[in-house]
């Protein structure tokens, strides 16, 4: 149950607690949460619609988690990604990496986010007074993924 794809919001504190409570050997917990930003290059948005590819999404996320587990000594990993309609300030994604020491937890969390950005089948459509448009993929995200392939 390390991966969830859901419409509902999530509770960061409860997720950390569930991951860390059973294991007294965890010394470091890193979380990343992604939020919907109000201002985009095109202007202020009112809503964001997150589309995904049911089935492949879960599979892709589980694969990314397996890769992180193979690279770092992790005591726990959790990935939650929402889909459906969202508004500015809403939580989109949560990644948690728990390890004995902070280096592994930080690196694994950053890796999970970089891979998730370019390998998990989600697409964002933003809508505001200026109209609605699909979000373009960021060049920076491709580069962020590539750096893990070189090291």
């Amino acid at each position: 149950m390390s991966v969830s794809v859901q419409i509902e919001d999530f509770d960061i504190a409860a997720e950390i607690e569930a991951l860390t409570a059973p294991d007294q050997d965890i010394g470091a917990v890193v979380t990343f949460s992604g939020l919907v930003r109000e201002m985009t290059d095109a202007g202020a948005i009112q809503t964001m619609e997150l589309e995904h590819y049911p089935g492949m999404t879960e599979r892709a996320l589980e694969e990314i988690v397996e890769q992180a587990r193979a690279r770092w000594p992790l005591n726990g990993v959790r990935v939650i990604h929402r889909f459906g309609p969202l508004a500015p300030g809403d939580r989109i994604v949560l990644v948690i990496a728990a390890s004995r020491h902070r280096e592994a937890a930080f690196e694994a969390a950053a890796f999970l986010m970089d891979y998730l950005k370019t390998k998990a089948p989600f697409w964002k459509k933003e809508a505001g007074s200026h109209g609605a448009a699909w979000v373009d993929a960021r060049e920076a995200d491709d580069q962020a993924t590539t750096r893990w392939e070189q090291t």
Binding site: E51, K117, T118, A120, P121, F122, W123, K124, W134, A137
Partner: protein
């Protein structure tokens, strides 16, 4: 074969999925075939560099063999996270 479309490909094609009979050997061949269909297919597949493809839910290149494939999905680069 089940064909799926996501994001603006879905909007341009005008449907989220369609069931087709095809002998296409690769996703590239399949795209050539799909472009001859009516609706928004030609517009959807206009810029091939903007299109990613998954065969049976695994990302592949456009020249990947389609033999035995049951589900082919077309979509733009992902923007999750």
């Amino acid at each position: 074969m089940q064909i799926l479309y996501f994001s603006w490909l879905r909007e341009r094609v005008g449907e989220a999925s369609e069931e087709i009979e095809t002998q296409a050997a690769t996703p590239a061949d399949l795209i050539t075939e799909l472009k001859t269909r009516g609706g928004g297919h030609a517009m959807a597949f206009d810029d091939i560099s903007a299109i990613r493809v998954a065969v049976d839910q695994q990302m592949v290149e456009l020249d990947h063999p389609l033999e035995g494939a049951r589900e082919v999905a077309f979509f733009p680069p992902m923007t999750g996270g």
